[in-house]
C-alpha cells in the first residue's frame, strides 16, 4: 500500500519590497505597479506554506520529521528573508522584481537546491510553495504537484 500523504506547514516572515523594473521608465513603473512602486518600499507579513509529499514511514508514522523541515525552512528561507528588504537580497532579486509570484518561485528553488543536501528529509518530496502576501492575496507554485 502506498499511503502517500501530503503535509503542509505554515511559517511566517515579515519583509519589505518595492516593485520596480529598471527596464521600464518611471512613468511606466508607476502605471504598472501603482502604490507598490513607492521608492521607499513597503512591507508585508507573509505567511508561507510548504507542502511535502511522500510515503508515510511505517516506523515513525511520518512523511517528514517536522524538526528537520523547520530547520531547513528556517535556515534557507526565514533567516534569509525575515525582516529583510527583498530588493536588497541580491542573490535572489538582482534581476527580478520581488513580486510574490517571483518570491514563490525563488523560495521553491532555494528549498529544492537544499533538498539534495539533506538526507534527513528522506523520501519526502517538495511539492508546493504557497505565499499569502495579505489575507486577500495568495500565490502558489508547485511544478511537480499532482493534486
Amino acid at each position: 500500500m502506498s499511503s502517500i500523504a501530503h503535509l503542509t506547514r505554515r511559517y511566517y516572515f515579515s519583509a519589505s519590497h518595492r516593485l520596480h523594473n529598471e527596464a521600464l521608465g518611471e512613468e511606466e513603473n508607476r502605471r504598472v505597479y501603482g502604490k507598490c512602486n513607492n521608492p521607499f518600499g513597503h512591507g508585508h507579513n507573509y505567511a508561507l506554506e510548504v507542502t511535502v509529499g511522500g510515503a508515510v514511514d511505517p516506523a515513525t508514522g511520518m512523511v517528514v520529521n517536522l524538526a528537520d523541515l523547520d530547520r531547513v525552512v528556517g535556515e534557507e528561507i526565514l533567516e534569509r528573508f525575515d525582516h529583510a528588504n527583498l530588493n536588497a537580497c541580491r542573490e535572489s532579486f538582482a534581476s527580478r522584481v520581488p513580486t510574490s509570484e517571483n518570491l514563490c518561485q525563488e523560495i521553491f528553488r532555494l528549498l529544492d537546491d537544499r533538498w539534495g543536501r539533506e538526507p534527513a528529509l528522506g523520501n519526502a518530496r517538495l511539492e508546493r510553495v504557497r505565499i499569502e502576501e495579505t489575507s486577500a492575496n495568495a500565490f502558489e507554485y508547485g511544478p511537480r504537484s499532482d493534486n
Binding site: 502506498s2 502517500i4 503535509l7 505554515r10 508515510v56 515513525t60 508514522g61 499532482d146
Partner: protein, 137 residues
C-alpha cells in the same frame, strides 16, 4: 464534477513512540511528542467528496447524511479519546497526523451515501495539516 467539503472538529490526545526504538532514539526522533502521558490537540477535519449534482435534488449528496456518517464513523471513535490507548488502529501505528488522516480515509471509504471520497485534510494546528487522497493519490 463537483467537490463538496464538510468540516468537523474533534479533540484527542496522543503521544509518539515506537517500541522498537530505544528510549534515546524515541526522544531524539519525536522530541516533546514522546512524553508518554500524552498531549492533546483540537483537530479540524475537512472531508471532500466528489460527484455530480443529482438533477433531481441539485446535491452531490445529502449533507445531513454526510454529517451522520462523519459522526458515527469518525467523531464517535476519535473525539475525546487518548488515541494510542483507546483506538484500535493506533495500537500498532503511531497516531501522527499522517496516520490519523489515512485512518479517517479508511473509516469513511465505502460509507458515503453518494459521491466518492476525494480528500481528507486534517489540521493538527492552524499551522500544520496533512492531505490524503487514498491509496491512488
Amino acid at each position: 464534477m463537483i467537490y463538496l467539503t464538510r468540516k468537523a472538529e474533534f479533540s484527542a490526545s496522543h503521544y509518539y513512540h515506537n517500541p522498537l526504538f530505544s528510549a534515546q532514539e524515541n526522544a531524539r526522533l519525536f522530541g516533546k511528542c514522546n512524553n508518554p502521558n500524552g498531549h492533546g490537540h483540537n483537530y479540524l477535519l475537512e472531508v471532500t467528496v466528489k460527484g455530480d449534482a443529482d438533477p433531481g435534488t441539485g446535491m452531490v449528496l445529502d449533507l445531513k447524511q454526510l454529517k451522520e456518517v462523519l459522526n458515527r464513523e469518525v467523531l464517535e471513535v476519535l473525539d475525546h479519546r487518548f488515541l494510542n490507548h483507546e483506538v484500535a488502529a493506533f495500537a500498532s501505528r503511531i497516531p501522527t497526523t499522517e496516520n490519523i488522516a489515512v485512518e479517517i480515509w479508511r473509516m469513511l471509504e465505502g460509507k458515503l451515501p453518494a459521491g466518492r471520497l476525494h480528500r481528507i485534510r486534517l489540521y493538527e494546528t492552524h499551522d500544520l495539516f496533512v492531505d490524503y487522497y487514498g491509496e491512488q493519490g
